[in-house]
């Protein structure tokens, strides 16, 4: 059972993810952010439930829809926000934006714009732990759509074969861009694919952060103990479009509304209240604290200069 302190920490994490992305939607709509962004609102229980099992030394890999994982892993919001704004003080110097946020400090080895590309790379940080004999764990987040890339197959096979300390977290929101899961795979439960590799596969309700945390904890401990990888599928809901601004015309009437009824944050609030592990005052204070953090991060990003054009060739090579 997760302790009160841990659950409060998780609540903070989930709400932070939510508020960060709400704010991103706002500033994006105002035109403050170049390019495009993909938000994970509705999916916070996955990011926060999993990352609560990790230490700063552990590494995560994420995707185009990576803000949540990155924030939950503990990135400093200021360079995070500045990166998305494309400013010099961004965690990647503004080089790469929302789709490529990374933080060495926080153990975020990168969001990735190529679907399925993070999985092979995650094998390597896990292998480095095995090689060195440390007990760090790698977590690789990806979507349901990504599980049809060849890299999924190659990576899970190799991870199982070598018993690598990596946890594959499939965030199944039922959609790949504008296309529903049934359009791109015949099977329903993605965790069933783990059997192809001799790896445990588990499916949880990804809107129930307690369930996510429980299974993630087991998988992370397993990896940390040298017992090998796990495929953890978290079923969840994408409230917004594929990218910010996507009107989701391709979704059936009422579907989005129904998805939004399942609010992982509200679920956790109900649980905390029922168990008397937190009260409304805690929720409000947490929200206030988060809003202040975000305000500061936005101010930081807005105040940060554009990267210097004369640095355009910096960091191509050592």
């Amino acid at each position: 059972m997760a302790s009160k302190a841990l659950l409060q920490e998780i609540y903070y994490s989930m709400l932070k993810v939510r508020r960060v992305e709400e704010r991103l939607l706002d500033v994006f709509a105002e035109g403050a952010i170049p390019g495009f962004i993909h938000v994970s609102i509705g999916q916070e229980a996955v990011a926060s439930g999993v990352c609560a099992c990790l230490t700063p030394r552990d590494t995560i890999f994420t995707t185009h829809r990576g803000h949540g994982h990155t924030v939950a892993k503990g990135i400093d919001l200021k360079p995070f926000m500045a990166e998305i704004y494309g400013r010099a003080d961004g965690s990647c110097g503004g080089r790469s934006g929302s789709m490529h946020v990374a933080s060495k400090e926080a153990g975020v080895a990168g969001a990735n714009g190529i679907v399925g590309a993070g999985m092979p790379i995650s094998l390597g940080t896990a292998f480095a732990s095995m090689f060195r004999g440390d007990d760090d764990v790698t977590v690789c987040f990806f979507g349901d759509g990504a599980t049809n890339e060849g890299t999924f197959h190659e990576s899970l096979n190799l991870a199982a074969l070598w018993n690598l300390p990596v946890v594959f977290v499939c965030e199944n929101n039922g959609w790949a861009q504008f296309t529903a899961q049934s359009t791109y795979m015949k099977i329903k439960q993605i965790s069933d694919r783990a059997a192809s590799y001799g790896m445990p596969g588990i499916t949880v309700d990804g809107t129930d952060v307690l369930a996510v945390h429980k299974e993630a904890d087991r998988a992370v401990k397993r990896a940390r103990a040298g017992k090998g990888p796990t495929l953890l599928e978290c079923n969840t809901q994408r409230w917004f479009g594929h990218y910010a601004g996507d009107p989701q015309k391709y979704r059936a009437e009422g579907e989005v509304e129904k998805a939004r009824e399942i609010d992982p944050i509200a679920r956790l609030e109900t649980h905390l209240l029922a168990k008397k592990q937190a009260n409304q005052a805690f929720f409000d204070a947490t929200d206030e604290r988060i809003r202040a953090e975000i305000d500061a991060a936005i101010a930081f990003a807005e105040g940060s200069p554009k990267a210097d054009p004369s640095d355009i060739l910096m960091d191509v090579y050592a």
């Binding site: 934006g97 049809n148 790949a176 296309t179 359009t183 355009i312």
Partner: protein, 323 residues
């Protein structure tokens, strides 16, 4: 003649070719109900049904191989790969399978198929969604590589590509999708392998392609104000290259600038420069100057500093003329 956006001209070409030839079909991620990430296949699912407009899983290698196998059996697939940056995900199928099919099997099989994919920057899409990779594919025998710069060209060239009996990589440009231009309503085709003189001139030749053609034209305007008449050649096809048109122009102007958005080093500009050096160095009245992106990935925030523009083309022309 209707004014139409580049992306609409593409959708129109697809529509007309599907109507004309029932072996033509569309395959790719999100090409169906949603009409493609950029709208290139909008309306086609409703019109031609799900057998001919195929939404796929995110499985680029399987998509590409499937298209090849069906082409070998006489269908004419038009594959959409959402960003040209994803072509590396199915590089083996393109280079080792599709491009080599006719040759490797001694002409028994061939692969009449089109791969549509947008390259280029200008949308702040970052290092993995902004690349211009035409030079790679120009190095691959068996492929044709087409790079349209206007709605008119896009429609006419895509129709030719679909009718071509060889595999054609049709590299569109995201930043041009919204561009408007006159497009004939009915059928017309433009020849693959023929460049187009987008602006005649006698003083210097500027060879360019895709979005960079417009930067070259803007440069030509600036130069004209200074009394320099640049001839702007739009390659339209980078493989095979239209040496004749380039050489004829250089014969006239004696001066050559090649401008593309791709990284300059080992880009297609190098090939054009080398061809001219090799076969008509006599005619040159100065160095062949190339304009291209710096040797770095496409940066998110510094994209506008990174991408070559009219000023770079003007500077290149000045360098040639200063000689």
């Amino acid at each position: 003649m209707t004014e139409s956006r580049y992306i609409k001209a593409i959708a129109q070409a697809l529509d007309e070719e599907m109507a004309r030839d029932e072996t033509v079909y569309i395959i790719g991620e999100d090409v169906g109900a949603s009409g493609g990430a950029f709208g290139g296949t909008r309306g086609l699912l409703d019109k031609y049904g799900p057998l001919r407009v195929r939404d796929t899983p995110i499985s680029e290698a399987a998509i590409m191989g499937l298209a090849l196998g069906s082409a070998v059996k006489g269908l004419r697939p038009v594959v959409e790969i959402m960003f040209a940056d994803f072509l590396p995900m199915c590089m083996d199928q393109i280079v080792n399978q599709i491009a080599k099919t006719r040759y490797m099997f001694g002409g028994q099989f061939h692969a009449p198929m089109v791969i549509r994919s947008p390259g280029g920057g200008g949308l702040n899409a970052g290092p993995q969604h902004s690349q211009s990779l035409e030079a790679w594919f120009a190095h691959v025998p068996g492929l044709k590589v087409v790079v349209p710069s206007t709605p008119y060209d896009a429609k006419g060239l895509l129709k030719s590509a679909i009718r071509d009996d060889d595999p054609v990589l049709f590299l569109e440009n995201k930043a041009l999708y919204a561009m408007k231009g006159d497009v004939p309503d009915g059928d017309y085709v433009l020849p693959i392998g023929k460049a187009d003189i987008k602006r005649p001139g006698n003083d210097v030749t500027i060879v360019s392609l895709s979005r960079m053609v417009h930067q070259a034209l803007a440069a030509a305007k600036i130069l004209a104000e200074r009394g320099i008449e640049a001839e702007v050649i739009d390659l339209r096809t980078v493989s095979p290259l239209d040496k004749e048109t380039i050489f004829a122009s250089v014969e006239k102007t004696s001066r050559l600038v090649v401008a593309h958005e791709a990284v300059k080093t080992a880009g297609i500009g190098a090939e054009i420069s080398a061809l001219v050096s090799e076969e008509m160095i006599d005619c040159l009245d100065g160095p062949v100057v190339r304009v291209g992106a710096p040797f770095a990935p496409v940066p998110f925030s510094l994209e506008s500093d990174y991408l070559p523009g009219p000023a770079d083309v003007v500077a290149a022309v000045e360098k040639v003329l200063a000689y």
